[in-house]
C-alpha cells in the first residue's frame, strides 16, 4: 500500500480518501437489499402493518369505523371479561379446535399411508383427495347444506335406511358445531394428506428394509419407523391447523351464521358481527387482539412441546 509510506504531511492521496456517504450507501449491500425488497415492504406495510397498528389503536377507542373515535382506555378489554356472548364464542372455538385438529391430523395420516403405494390409478386418488382443498368454501357449504338438510338431505335418508332416526345437523344446537367439523375436515383433509405424502416419501427405504430384516411387520414398521420420522410434519400440521381453526369464519358465515342460538358463534364470527353489523369497531379490535395474543401463546407452547417431543423420539 502506497499511502503507508507517503509522508503524513502530504495528506491523504485522492485514492485513499474515504468515499462520500452517498457513494458508500450506493455500494453497500444493505442498500441493494432494501431497494430490492422495497415494493414488497411498501405493500405489506400499507396493507398489513398499517391496519395492524390501526386496529391496536382502535381497540382502545369507541369507534364506529367512520366518525372520529373516543378514547376509552382499557374499557373494551374489560368488557371482554364480562361479555357472556364472547365467552360463549371462546368456548365454541376451543371445542371446535379440540375436535377438528386431532381428527384432521389422524385422518390425513391414515389416508396418506393408504395413498403412499404403487397401485393402478394412484394419481386419480391423490387428485380426488386434494380437490376439496381447492373447492371454494361457498360451493362446499351449499353442498353440505343440501346433504345435511334435516328433511330432504341424502345423509338423513341414508341413516333412515339403516334404521337411525333423522338428525338435525345444522339445525340442532347440539350437532351444529360437529357438522361444521365434518364439513371442514372434508375441506382440509387433502392439505394434510399432501404434507404427509411428501414426508412419507422422504423416509429412506433402507430404514424400512432394515426393519423388515429385523423381523418387523409392515404395520409395526409404520408405527415404529415411519410415524416417528413424520414428527416434524405432524408438528407443522398441528400448528397450522390450530391457527386456522382458531380463525374459523367463512364456513360459519355461509352455513349457520353463528346459530342455532349461538351454538356455532366462534370468536372471529363474533368479531365480524360486532364490527360490521353493530359497527362497534373498537370492541371488535379488542377481540382481534385478544385472539392474536391467544394464538401467539398457543403456537409458542406447541412449538416448545413439539420440538421436545420430536427430539425425544429420535
Amino acid at each position: 500500500m502506497t499511502s503507508a509510506t507517503a509522508p503524513p504531511a502530504a495528506g491523504p492521496s485522492p485514492v485513499h480518501r474515504r468515499p462520500s456517504v452517498l457513494l458508500r450507501v450506493w455500494w453497500s449491500d444493505t442498500f441493494a437489499g432494501w431497494a430490492f425488497i422495497s415494493p414488497t415492504v411498501l405493500l405489506i406495510g400499507l396493507f398489513g402493518l398499517v391496519p395492524v397498528v390501526w386496529a391496536f389503536v382502535l381497540s382502545f377507542e369507541q369507534n364506529d369505523l367512520i366518525s372520529p373515535g373516543r378514547w376509552v382506555g382499557l374499557d373494551n378489554y374489560r368488557k371482554l371479561l364480562h361479555d357472556p356472548a364472547f365467552s360463549n364464542s371462546v368456548r365454541n372455538t376451543v371445542v371446535y379446535t379440540l375436535v377438528f385438529v386431532p381428527v384432521c391430523v389422524i385422518g390425513s395420516l391414515l389416508v396418506a399411508a393408504l395413498l403412499n403405494r404403487r397401485i393402478r390409478g394412484i394419481t386419480f386418488y391423490r387428485v380426488a383427495v386434494f380437490i376439496p382443498v381447492v373447492t371454494s368454501t361457498v360451493a362446499t357449504a351449499t353442498m353440505f347444506n343440501w346433504l345435511l338438510d334435516p328433511d330432504f338431505g341424502v345423509v338423513n335418508a341414508a341413516l333412515n335406511k339403516v334404521g337411525i332416526a333423522s338428525q338435525g345437523f345444522f339445525r340442532d344446537p347440539k350437532e351444529a358445531l360437529l357438522a361444521i367439523v365434518l364439513m371442514t375436515v372434508w375441506g382440509w383433509l387433502g392439505f394434510g394428506v399432501i404434507i404427509y405424502l411428501a414426508a412419507l416419501q422422504s423416509v429412506s427405504a433402507d430404514l424400512l428394509e432394515a426393519a423388515a430384516i429385523d423381523g418387523c411387520t409392515r404395520w409395526r414398521a409404520f408405527w415404529r419407523v415411519e410415524v416417528p420420522l413424520l414428527a416434524p410434519a405432524t408438528l407443522f400440521l398441528v400448528i397450522w391447523l390450530t391457527i386456522n381453526s382458531l380463525q374459523l369464519f367463512d364456513e360459519i358465515f355461509v352455513t349457520t351464521k353463528g346459530g342455532p342460538v349461538g351454538s356455532t358463534t366462534v370468536v372471529v364470527y363474533y368479531l365480524y358481527v360486532q364490527a360490521f353489523q353493530f359497527f362497534n369497531g373498537g370492541y371488535a379490535s379488542a377481540i382481534a387482539y385478544a385472539l392474536f395474543m391467544a394464538i401467539l401463546v398457543i403456537t409458542a407452547i406447541q412449538l416448545k412441546v413439539g420440538r421436545r417431543l420430536s427430539h425425544g423420539e429420535r
Binding site: 431497494a35 430490492f36 422495497s38 415494493p39 338438510d149 334435516p150 346459530g259 349461538g262 359497527f279
Partner: protein, 434 residues
Amino acid sequence: MTSSPRRITALAMGAIAALTLAACTGSSGSKPSSTQSGGVVQITLSHGYTDVEAKAVTAQVATWNASNPKIQVKLVFNGGNDGALQKTLAGLAAGSSPDIAYEFGSSMAALAGRSQVVDLSNKVKDSSFKWTDFYSFERDAATSSGKVYGVPALVDNLALVYNKKLFDNAGLAYPTDSWTWDDFRAAAKKLTDASRKQYGWAYVADGSEDTTWRWLAMLWQAGGDLVSADGKKAAFDSPAGLKATQLLHDMAVTDKSVYLDQGNGNYLNLFNSGKIGMLWTGPWDLSSINSDVNYGVQILPAAEGTHSSIAGPDNWMVFNNGAAREQAAWTFLTWLTSAQTHGEFTLATGDLPTRASETKLDSYTGYLAKYPGDAVFVLNLGNVTKARPNTKSYPQVSQAIGSQMQGVLIGQTAPQSALTAAAQQADGALASGQ
C-alpha cells in the same frame, strides 16, 4: 461488488416502490370524475340494479340525458346492493361519494346525520314534489330523528303466497282476506304430511333479520310494538309478543307444520316442487316461482282484526359534493321518483308502485295485466302501518330477537323465556346505543 446491472435493477425496484407510494397518495382525496364546464353539471348515481331493473334504469337515464343537456347523469354500478352500505361508508371515509346512491332501508341509521349526507327535509316540503303521495311507512323509513334523508326507491311487503294444487289436494278452501291466525294454523296443519315430507308453511330460521321481520309482522298483527314510544326500552315482551311467539312455537314444535329454512333459500325450491303449501314472502320471489306452479296471493291472516304486514323500503340518498351538484341531483331525483317516471319503471320491471297516485295512472291496468301476482301486494301496501325504527341499535335488537326466535322454532326455548331474554338484550343495546 462491481455488478452494476444488479445495482440498476435495485434502483429500479426502489423507483417502482416510490411511484406506487406516489400513486396511492395521489389518488386519495380526488373526487370522482364529474366536472362542471360550460354550465353542464355532471352527477353520478350509484345503484345495484341487475337484469330488467338495470336495463330499465339505464334507459330512463338515457332519456333524461338526451332531453336535459345541462344536467348529465352517469350511472355507476355499486357491485350489488348487499354491499352498498359498506361501499358508501368507505367512500365517505375517503372523501369521495356519488351524488345519489341506492341504499337499503336498514342502512338509514348508519348514514343519517353524517355531514356528507344531505338533509332533504326542506326539499320534500315543496308542494310540487308531492311528498305525501308516498305511502306513510315509506316516509317513516326515509326519516331519522325527525329529518328526511331519503326518497323511497323501492317498496315491497309480505303477503301470503300459496300453492293452489296443494290446497285442492287437501280439500281446503283457498285463503281469504278475512283469515285469522286460527284459520292459518289449521290450514298449515292440514297441508302437512310427514310421510311425503310436505309442510304447510316455511319460515326462515337462520336467526337473522329474515327471522325477525316476519315475527315483527305477527307482533303488529297481535297489536304489539317493538320499542317504547321514546325508543329507549324494548316493548315487545308483552301479551302481543307472547301471542306471536306462541303461534310460532305451536306451529313449528307442536304441529310440526313448518319447514325451517336455514337461510339458504331452499324454501323456494321446495315450494316449486310442491313440498310447501304457504309462504310469507314478497313480490321479489314471484319471478322465481316455476310457471307450472299454480299459485295465489292473499293478504296475511289477522289477529285482533288487523292484517298488518311489514315492508322494507329502500331509499335514494343524496350526498354533498358542492351546491351546484346537490341542486342538479335533486332536480334529477325529483324527475326519477315522480309518479310518471316510476310508473314506467314498474311497468318494465314488475316492482311495486312507491307513490299511491301511480295506481291511478293509465298505464296501471296494463301493469296489473302484465303482473297479476302483484295486485294483492299493491293492495297490501295499505296494511303496512308501522316501520322498523331507524336507530343505530336496531341491528342489535334484531339479532337478539332473531336468535331467540330460532330457539323457539327448534323447540329449544320456551316462548316466554325467549321473549324475556331478547327483551333484556334489546334493553341493553337501546340503553347504550343512539
